[in-house]
């Protein structure tokens, strides 16, 4: 933020960066073989809903768009609202590449409609023998970071740092650890949740 922005007390809204999303596809082999993480088959886009009629229209259009891509790839789409006032579009597909591609399509559609600033993060679910490990893509930073919940709002930091050490050569991993924001109970794990 420049001096002029500070003086006038305004700041240009931060837009989403989608460029690095596909790094997940290219690193898929390392994630699965070197780290032993298995895709949960689900990904979730988390965004802030705004109080406006047009936003509802956008979501309806997205549903239609995804219904078409659904036929091609077999990706299933559900919607989810969380207790923090954020909305999720949850994609289910056993193929990780399809998940990444569809996530990119949805993100891009939202961006084209001018809702770039509403995008918070995309969460890709993985499981590890030690527990769930999610890879979170922060749209505003354009980086991934690992999130390994260990029950009772605690995180398995050792596992997260291991994921970082293995992946940082191949993927853009968020360098500032204080920006590894927790995403509790993301709707990207199957079963009873």
């Amino acid at each position: 933020m420049g001096l002029f922005d500070i003086l006038r007390g305004q700041r240009a809204p931060k837009r989403a960066n989608l460029d690095n999303l596909f790094a997940l596809s290219t690193s898929a082999l390392t994630i699965q073989t070197d780290l032993g993480l298995a895709p949960s088959g689900r990904a979730g886009l988390c965004f802030k809903a705004i109080d406006a009629g047009m936003f509802a229209e956008l979501v309806a259009d997205l549903d239609q768009l995804l219904a078409i891509s659904n036929r091609d790839t077999g990706t299933e789409v559900t919607r989810h609202a969380d207790s923090y006032g954020f909305s999720w579009i949850v994609l289910s597909d056993p193929d990780l590449d399809d998940l990444v591609t569809t996530t990119h399509v949805v993100s891009q559609t939202m961006e084209e409609r001018g809702f770039s600033e509403q995008l918070l993060c995309a969460v890709f679910g993985f499981t590890h023998p030690a527990g769930d490990v999610d890879l979170v893509y922060g749209y505003k930073r354009g980086t991934f970071y690992p999130f390994a919940p260990a029950g009772d709002k605690r995180r398995d930091n050792a596992l997260e740092l291991r994921v970082k050490a293995t992946l940082e050569r191949e993927m853009p991993i968020e360098p500032e650890l204080e920006r590894w924001y927790a995403v509790w109970d993301p709707p990207v794990h199957g079963g009873g949740r």
Partner: protein, 303 residues
């Protein structure tokens, strides 16, 4: 580049810059008078500068201590931290410290001059009074203060008023204690009058600047949350609740007014709009609802 329609208010920017320009102009004139009068200006300026620096460096600790506020960890206030974190992630802002002040006065303020010391403080009262969506609007307003560096801006702007205030005393002590001739006494008289005029003007301009910064923070909050109506609703709820809070508590909180989201005013005290640190709640609510109307009409305007 896509921008929200309410992302700009040229009039507000112009007024704010004009105010700051006015402050700077007065500063220059003031220095000129000092030099013409031949006062030991450097000594005074160093003192005032030191004072402003102390205020800047320790202001956050003083503010938090005076409210008996405690900086919390995510474990201690999970929901609050989650709310702050999501707003920070959404807007790519470094997360500030999060503090809670144990008082029933429903209020919130931002403190700290740097990225490391930036603190957003909410009272237990505001957490009880507001539903989560409205609390989010209030926190976004305080985050906007942090992003806009309002603590630094107001401290630097206040530096001038401090200089003038110090000089009044300096001039008085010197003229009373000095053995000087009539010429020197005349010089001091000029200095004192100049200081008083400068002080009054800078005071009014400071207050105006503070009010403009509030509008700017409201606007910033609206852009962060995408829901101006949330903050508007919070403001009306707080301003309504403020009148029903016991006066003793309010008086204790009055020193903190400059950084509060709505100033705590004792009943019966009416400040003229010229010297208030905050614009009237109703005006702020009107502006926010205007933004909401623009947003509803055209949620993804290209400017």
């Amino acid at each position: 580049m896509a921008r929200r329609l309410y992302g700009r208010d040229t009039g507000l920017t112009a007024r704010m810059l004009f105010t700051m320009f006015g402050l700077g102009l007065i500063y220059v004139v003031f220095i000129g008078i000092l030099i013409a009068a031949g006062v030991g200006a450097i000594v005074v300026l160093v003192l005032a500068g030191g004072f402003a620096l102390v205020q800047l460096l320790f202001g956050d600790r003083i503010a938090l201590a005076s409210m008996r506020a405690k900086v919390t960890t995510p474990d201690q206030a999970h929901e609050l931290h989650a709310m702050v974190e999501r707003l920070c992630q959404l807007n790519d802002i470094p997360k500030p410290r999060v503090a809670i002040a144990p008082t029933d006065v429903p209020n919130a303020f931002a403190a700290g001059h740097s990225r490391k010391t930036a603190t957003v403080c909410v009272t237990t009262g505001i957490m009880q009074t507001l539903p989560p969506a409205e609390l989010e609007g209030v926190i976004a307003h305080e985050l906007a203060h942090v992003v806009n560096r309002d603590v630094v801006v107001m401290t630097v702007a206040g530096f001038l008023a401090t200089v003038a205030g110090l000089l009044i005393r300096f001039g008085m002590y010197s003229s009373m204690g000095g053995r000087g001739n009539r010429n020197q006494a005349g010089v001091f008289l000029v200095v004192i009058i100049a200081s008083v005029v400068v002080y009054v003007l800078s005071f009014l301009l400071l207050r105006a600047l503070s009010r403009y910064r509030e509008y700017a923070a409201d606007r910033g909050a609206a852009m962060m949350t995408g829901a101006p109506a949330q903050l508007a609703s919070a403001l009306s709820r707080i301003s309504g609740a403020m009148e029903r809070i016991p006066t003793r508590d309010l008086r204790a909180a009055e020193g903190m007014n400059a950084f509060f989201i709505i100033p705590a005013m004792s009943k019966g005290v009416s400040l003229s709009s010229l010297i208030a640190t905050h614009p009237p709640a109703q005006k702020r609510i009107d502006k926010l609802m205007e933004m909401q109307a623009q947003l509803d009409a055209n949620p993804s305007a290209q400017l």
